[in-house]
Amino acid sequence: MKYVLMFAETEQFAADLAAMDDAERERAYARVGQWFADNREQITRHVHLMPPETATTMRLGGGEPVVTDGPFVEGKEVVSGIAEVDVDDLDAALRLARSWPGCPLVEIRPIAST
């Protein structure tokens, strides 16, 4: 089954990351890189998103389309990246997510079969 893992950052996580010195931050990034390398057989693709300040949202369906700056959900938790994985079942996806060394929130959703 294919799942998408959606990685979400929190304000606390961003603050913690900002508080690190360069060497610590490098090590944090290295752990994430290692995770992708360790699980490359199950990960079919993955992307890291630019921060929410770079988002632009187009609202359709309410007469004239409205363009606003920012993400469609103004929240303290924002999706910062996704990975598509191909594993047997939800438990296998949970196992992958459990070892994720990056941001503290991961939403796991099956991809609807096409």
């Binding site: 799942y3 047997d88 079942d89 939800l90 438990d91």
Partner: protein, 398 residues
Amino acid sequence: MTTATEVELARAVRDHAGRLAAALVGLTGDFATAEDLVQDAVEAALTHWPVEGIPERPDAWLFTVARRRGLDLLKRRARYRTKLALLHWPAQPEPDDRLRLLFTCCHPALPRTGQIALTLRAVCGLTTAQVARAFLVTEATVGQRITRAKRKISEAGIPYRIPDPDELAGRLSEVLAVIYLLFNEGYLTTAGTASHDRDLADDAEFLADLLHRLMPTEPEVMGLLALIRLHQARAAARFDAEGRIIPLPAQDRGRWDRDAIEEAGALIARAAAHRRPGPYQLQAAIVACHAEAARWEDTDWPQILVLYTILLCVQPSPVTRLHRAVALRYADGPAAALAELDQLEDALDGYHLYHATRGELLRATGDPDAARAADERALALAANPAEIDLLRERLRWR
């Protein structure tokens, strides 16, 4: 009122529905279909058995009905039909199958209400109507919870499996939590007018016992089973003829089931030998201290205090601190207990037992006005009818 036949029937269904569901899911790999087949068989049993008598082999009867129904239902799915036609009811139970079933129903990706409804239905064989009655919600609500849970199992890819050793601890605690909640709901329901629903408590005991038979070396499973058995052993003395709670010191200890208490004590000792203490073992040990005392005056409060202190280290919670404070009262006096309670005010201000306990302690330290105010506050927050009666009674007399 349940008749003896109904009790017998409930037990027969409980003993066999889970095994049947497990065997059918194991065969089909399709949780929803297997579960529907079992429910049809269970409902047929509820109609036929009270009239025709309970069959000699209830499991074979249920199996035959489920299989016949399966063949009718799945005429179009040829492969499955062939498999079903070849299926024989095994003489030997398949322990792993039922364990898989239990872990699937209690998967942490399912909402708690769904876990409970599905476990009661698939493992204990309760119908939607029975689950609805037990929780005093509508059948439609229960039906929806079950449908959603089953859909999530198939659509989110929740596997039908026993977790690997490295994830077992976390997942087992989920299963234990479901059984514990079920028992608490049966032991002292917070919904509706019935203060005591023996059926749910019995189902919880059945599940704990089943889990213990399937995982005989898990100390926390032994702990939970002992805890439930100990409460059940004292159930007959807990309520008076009008359904009012009889407080522990006033209970007729002659009505406690001494054999069951002794068995539970042995179970706790066996669990302790594994040297992996956990919250259920500790709670069981505390209840055992009460159950083993011949008279209220003989209660080993220092021992209970020690057990609560360990429990707080294992699983810190303000409610546990509240219970510990009660033990403190009898070990060190009401003033020490009150001082402890003062520190819990922020956390437990909305909890009726906090105020009820405070009321008792204030009365013991000679402050009846403050005690009365605390009891009134407790009454305003209580939900269980028997507890409400008890608090009303106390306010009337003092």
